[in-house]
């Protein structure tokens, strides 16, 4: 078990290293310059700014310095677009927002998706199955940027507790979280159905049926745990995807999360901001995958022995 976790951690570090290296050179290859904005900057001003942020040095030196600052001081550098702000402060401010939104929509996704998948599997090829799968497909196809505006229209006006956009009251999290949850719920439903169908055709379930164990008990005691494994494997990547994938939902509902920083970072050539976010995201993805691996270890004794 420790061996598996260790190899996972190592793998994550490797991926993060390559990711940062790739993105470091990629953002610098994007046409444009961080210091050319609407306000005219003279050549000297630009040179001075580049010197201040160390962008006048050769690329390998910049690259080396970037790692040195992170590893020795935990410093992600200054934002080039938002003057005087550190990338780490921006992440510190926006990450809790994205995290809260992500966790809540993941929770909604779980309580909708898993029961839907179980029902579909139990009534395999009956109308309940078809309806559940059409609903799940709708969750995949009617995407967040279609649902979001519609939710704003439908719920915003008649229910004054729900703000159409913004992030000032605690109830403001509800609409974006609900909008985000359907995609996750849909995938979870499909995975749970697949896992459940797999398990229900196994011999030990037939044995339990033959012994006369009631269906409800078969599901909760015998079938549930192995059937949920594909869904749990998906949860790790899904969580990480929700956190950055909320770009769209964050724009619709004006949520001050990480997504907006990424988009503005790209369009304003804010190298440090983009790089910091990608690095942070890479680590987050590694942690999420690790957690879902550990959960799988607890669920499947066969994996623990290996």
């Amino acid at each position: 078990m420790t061996k598996l976790i260790l190899s996972r951690v190592l793998q994550t570090l490797l991926v993060v290293f390559f990711l940062v290296t790739f993105v470091f050179f990629a953002v610098r290859a994007i046409p444009g310059n961080p210091f050319v904005s609407e306000k005219k900057t003279t050549e000297q001003e630009r040179a001075a700014l580049e010197a201040y942020y160390g962008l006048d040095k050769p690329l390998p030196v910049q690259y080396f310095n970037y790692w040195k600052n992170i590893l020795t001081r935990g410093d992600f550098g200054d934002s080039l677009g938002m003057k005087g702000r550190k990338v780490s402060t921006l992440i510190k401010e926006s990450f809790p927002v994205s995290l809260k939104l992500g966790l809540l929509s993941l929770f909604f996704g779980l309580i909708i998706g898993i029961p839907l998948g179980i029902i579909a599997a139990l009534y395999h090829n009956k109308w309940q199955d078809y309806i559940a799968m059409i609903v799940a497909m709708a969750g995949i196809c009617v995407v967040a940027f279609v649902l979001g505006p519609i939710f704003q229209l439908v719920f915003g006006k008649p229910l004054p507790i729900l703000n159409v956009a913004g992030w000032s009251r605690s109830s403001d999290i509800l609409l974006p979280a609900i909008t985000l949850c359907f995609g996750v719920a849909a995938y979870l439903a499909r995975l749970t159905r697949g896992g459940m169908l797999d398990v229900l055709s196994q011999d030990y379930i037939r044995t339990a049926r033959a012994k006369g164990v009631p269906t409800m008990k078969i599901i909760t005691k015998h079938a549930m745990r192995p059937a949920l494994m594909p869904a749990v494997t998906y949860l790790g990547p899904a969580f990480a995807a929700i956190i950055t994938g909320s770009f769209v939902v964050e724009t619709i509902f004006l949520v001050p999360g990480m997504g907006q920083h990424f988009v503005t970072g790209i369009t304003s050539n804010d190298y440090n901001l983009v790089l910091g976010l990608v690095l942070f995201y890479g680590i987050l993805m590694g942690i999420a995958n690790l957690l879902s691996d550990i959960a799988l270890l607890f669920m499947d004794p066969k994996l623990r022995k290996a």
Binding site: L14, V146, V248, M285
Partner: protein, 326 residues
């Protein structure tokens, strides 16, 4: 009793008629109503966007001509079949031409994905061993990276170069500016999506190539002294088409979705071009007073995703009955 007698009297060729894998699959697909409906909708949408829209624009319908006296017409008002938008542009033409871009990006990217996937995955699976393993480790590493982020970066980088080339073509070589701009806008997005989208296809192809490479007919081909290329593309490829077709059909809607997401956050298709994602974004601004501006592109967009997904699921059930659990 009677039935058996009758059967025995039948001419032999009627009894022994075999069915090919593809004919079998087609019979199975025909039974799947959702998949058939999906297929029909896919064909209908392709027809509307790529055949009807050019014909209509030939007869004077335009997606870009503005008429500020006739903004936000309802369905059927002012001579607009599906109404008009905030600048008085024909919504029907905008949806159809936007669909052209969305579908073109997705289909072109899928074609690239399939090509790269077959070559890379095929070689990795056929060669196998250390080299094949190493090739797949690279794919695994790239797959672990956040897709959307990498695609956005790629698009921005490629976009700069393509714009330079487009400028060169129009100013130096005198190419038609509108056409060049249209493609200049589409190519970076397509390349960016395909550049990272082929990874899963590569994996799928490798898996089936690796299992085929161990079979007798490949060994026979090898002992006949055929070249590796011929074995891979003439003998193995036809046997890998099933999973490739299934996955390609499911790739198209996911690419349509990526294109729309990027265009929605403003990092995809740029004006004056439009795509479904862009139209939905524009429509969202006026949703409260004029819902048709959002609803019409949204319906066509979602319907397309539905249709492709159901068709893909149906094809999987039909071509690969063993693997069709979820």
């Amino acid at each position: 009793m009677e039935a058996t007698i009758e059967k025995n009297n039948l001419p032999e060729q009627d009894v022994e008629k075999g069915t090919s894998l593809w004919a079998d699959a087609y019979t199975r697909l025909k039974k799947n109503k959702l998949a058939m409906i999906g297929g029909i909708i896919v064909i209908a949408i392709l027809f509307l966007c790529f055949i009807l829209a050019p014909i209509l624009s030939f007869f004077g319908f335009s997606a870009n001509s503005q008429d500020l006296d006739k903004t936000f017409s309802g369905i059927g008002q002012n001579g607009y079949i599906l109404g008009s938008d905030n600048l008085g542009r024909d919504l029907m033409m905008r949806v159809l031409e936007g669909g052209q871009i969305s579908l073109l990006v997705a289909i072109l990217a899928t074609v690239l994905t399939v090509t790269i996937g077959i070559i890379y995955g095929g070689i990795a699976g056929y060669v196998g061993g250390r080299i094949g393993g190493f090739m797949m480790r690279i794919v695994d590493g790239l797959l672990a990276m956040p897709f959307l982020i990498i695609v956005i970066l790629f698009r921005e980088i490629i976009g700069g170069h393509v714009n330079e080339t487009a400028h060169f073509l129009t100013s130096e070589w005198g190419w038609h500016k509108d056409t060049v701009d249209r493609f200049a806008n589409l190519i970076p997005l397509t390349l960016a999506i395909a550049g990272f989208g082929w990874l899963t296809m590569g994996r799928i192809v490798r898996a089936s190539a690796a299992s085929l490479a161990k079979q007798e007919f490949v060994e026979a081909a090898r002992s006949l002294g055929l070249s590796h290329r011929r074995i891979l593309f003439r003998h193995m490829l036809p046997n890998m088409l099933g999973p490739v077709i299934i996955y390609a059909t499911l790739t198209i809607p996911s690419f349509i979705l990526y294109e729309a997401t990027l265009s929605f956050i403003g990092l995809g298709i740029e004006p004056p071009n439009s795509s479904w994602g862009k139209l939905i974004k524009e429509g969202a601004n006026f949703l409260e007073s004029y819902p048709t501006v959002l609803v019409i592109p949204a319906i066509l967009f979602s319907l397309t995703l539905f249709a492709f997904n159901f068709l893909g699921d149906g094809l999987r059930d039909a071509l690969d009955p063993k693997a069709s659990k979820d």
